[in-house]
Amino acid sequence: MTAPAAMLELTYRDAMREAIRDALRRDKNVFLMGEDVGRYGGCYAVSKGLLAEFGPERIRDTPLSESGFTGAGIGAAIAGMRPIVELMTVNFSLLALDQILNTAATVRHMSGNQFGVPLVIRMATGAGRQLAAQHSHSLEGWYAHIPGIKVLAPATVEDARGMLWTALQDPDPVLIFENVMLYNMTGKLTADAGAVDIDKAMVRRTGRDISLVTYGGSLWKTLEAAAALAAEDVDAEVIDLRSLRPIDDATIMTSVRKTRRAVIVDEGWRSGSLSAEICTRIIEQAFWELDAPIGRVCSEEVPIPYPRHLEIAAIPQVPKIVAAAKIALGRA
């Protein structure tokens, strides 16, 4: 009989660092490239200490050239390396959008399957630190629109630790979005925690009365909302999407079939958001199961403002999630 694996408590940040370190050790073709990943230790301290351990060739600081070094990551991946490109945040990723969409996402299909791009791009995302309009976007939904790439949103310490290796094994480009509010979050992991799947959603809380579908930074607010609802005798089921492209329809529909109600929590701006896509899929696939219109809790359609009270009002919060759930339940 084997002894139970030891449990570690670590932060989301630490877990991501472990994932990178583990990948660098296991495969010499893996290297990390991005702004301030080396000497600075990473804007969010994810890569702290890695330069000393792996050297400047494999922990490669870049100039402020998002398009240039993202394209370089694409070329290096085509030529057999396994780069991890770190775009400091999704806000700066827009400078690399041409390379991501017009090269990474298209090359395999456009070349008739002669060349593939096994590239991983990581970026921080989300609002909540009063960084104002240009530093607070949640554009995962935009990226999830693009065929040819995969989009992930690890929301737990386990996923932060485990998704990267699986993403690096994927023959196609994978984007990993790390919500800035999660880096300090702590969680428990078994010492031997390893790779996890990157195409399935997970039910984080089972329930019978309503399905709350969410991802990324919003997961924890949604779980808190579920706890608040439980105190009012509403048993909510919480689904963590984990993968935004592809979306795990089966898990969502199984849940909705059981609860017959859904609210989607998405930090993107409401119009044309990922929540709209999920809404539509539920209508396409589970219309007859519904007992109420589908609700959404999204960011207000404003550039995210700087002052705390306005920022709080602009993005999804627990009370809004609770309220939306109650409306769906006819308890407004």
Partner: protein
């Protein structure tokens, strides 16, 4: 400055080969124009007339294992690199026998067998890709260089500057070949660049650079030999600006309102095929029979390529979704 080994050996055989390669491109492009007017080739078509010396002068100097990145005006580069004419033309027809399965068309010729990485429709979009290919080779210690072809229009894009900077900073084995034909679509160089001496820009990034007469295939070959050797030996980038001219319009649907007919005519008298042929005739290296033979061989190859493309098949619609990802299945999308 130029080592003895850089000077091309201009034997009759080699000279005739240079001439043939250029004529082969010219005639192929001409046939593409004809097919386009007949709607066999669709979308956009960008032809290389007048610039043949660059592809013919540079690409044969590369090794099989080296990598080539080009632009949407890449038919000549693909042919010289060894992409079969049949596959290239079938690709332009959109047939599944095309080098990109028919999915890319004229602007997206890809060929793994010859390390030909496209075919890019975003001006400047190929430069970061080339940097990446070279980065991989650099990190693995491969003796491989990447030749990246682009027009002078790309010089205005941020990606040009980012890429040159990265190549110099990291010491990457990239040969940048700027095909300066004086017009970015319809905008003259003097109207878009504060510094029109392009190879000077490379110098700002501390990249060794040189400008060469793009209408002189021998000069280009000499410059290319020197450049390739420099990149291979130093592992550092090199920048070759080839000064040339585009005899045809930017693409087929272009009224050329932005330039004088007289200017085009003037360049037509010094274009590379006319020039080289004239020189060979003057040096008695070529006989009329040679030319007739070359043209007949080329016309036969082109005719065969047309037959191949005409009789090719359309990729079944059910295959549409395949290769979006490595494992995407076929699907009925009717």
């Amino acid at each position: 400055m130029t080592a003895v080994t850089d000077k091309p050996r201009l034997s009759r055989v080699h000279a005739l080969d240079l001439l043939k390669q250029m004529i082969r491109i010219r005639r192929f492009e001409d046939k593409c124009a004809e097919l386009y007017t007949q709607e066999k080739i669709r979308g956009f078509l960008h032809l290389y007339d007048g610039e043949e010396a660059i592809a013919v002068g540079v690409i044969p100097v590369l090794e099989q294992r080296d990598r080539v990145v080009a632009t949407y005006r890449e038919h000549g580069h693909a042919l010289v690199r060894g992409v079969p004419m049949t596959a290239a033309l079938a690709e332009m027809y959109g047939k599944q026998e095309g080098c990109s399965r028919g999915r890319g068309g004229s602007m997206h010729l890809f060929d793994r067998a010859t390390n030909f990485y496209g075919g890019n429709a975003i001006v400047g979009g190929g430069l970061p890709l080339a940097i990446g290919l070279a980065l991989a080779d650099h990190m693995r210690g491969n003796d491989i260089i990447t030749a990246c072809f682009f027009g002078e229009g790309a010089v205005a894009e941020g990606e040009f500057h980012e890429s040159l900077n990265l190549a110099a900073l990291w010491g990457l084995p990239v040969l940048f070949v700027c095909e300066n034909n004086l017009y970015a679509m319809g905008t003259a160089l003097v109207l878009s660049e504060s510094e029109t001496d392009i190879q000077r820009k490379a110098a700002c990034y501390r990249i060794a650079s040189e400008a060469v007469d793009g209408m002189d295939v021998v000069a280009i070959e000499a410059a290319a030999r020197h450049a390739v050797r420099a990149v291979r030996e130093s592992g550092k980038p090199y920048f070759l600006e080839c000064r040339t001219y585009r005899l045809r319009a930017h693409s087929m649907f272009d009224a050329q309102l932005y330039r004088d007919k007289a200017e085009v005519e003037a360049w037509r008298h010094k274009e590379p095929i006319v020039r080289f042929k004239g020189w060979l005739e003057a040096s008695h290296m070529i006989h009329p029979d040679d030319l007739a033979r070359i043209e007949a061989e080329i016309d036969a190859e082109i005719a065969q390529a047309v037959t191949f493309a005409e009789s090719g098949a359309w990729e079944p619609v059910e295959q549409l979704t395949r290769f979006t990802y490595a494992d995407s299945p076929a699907r009925d999308v009717s």
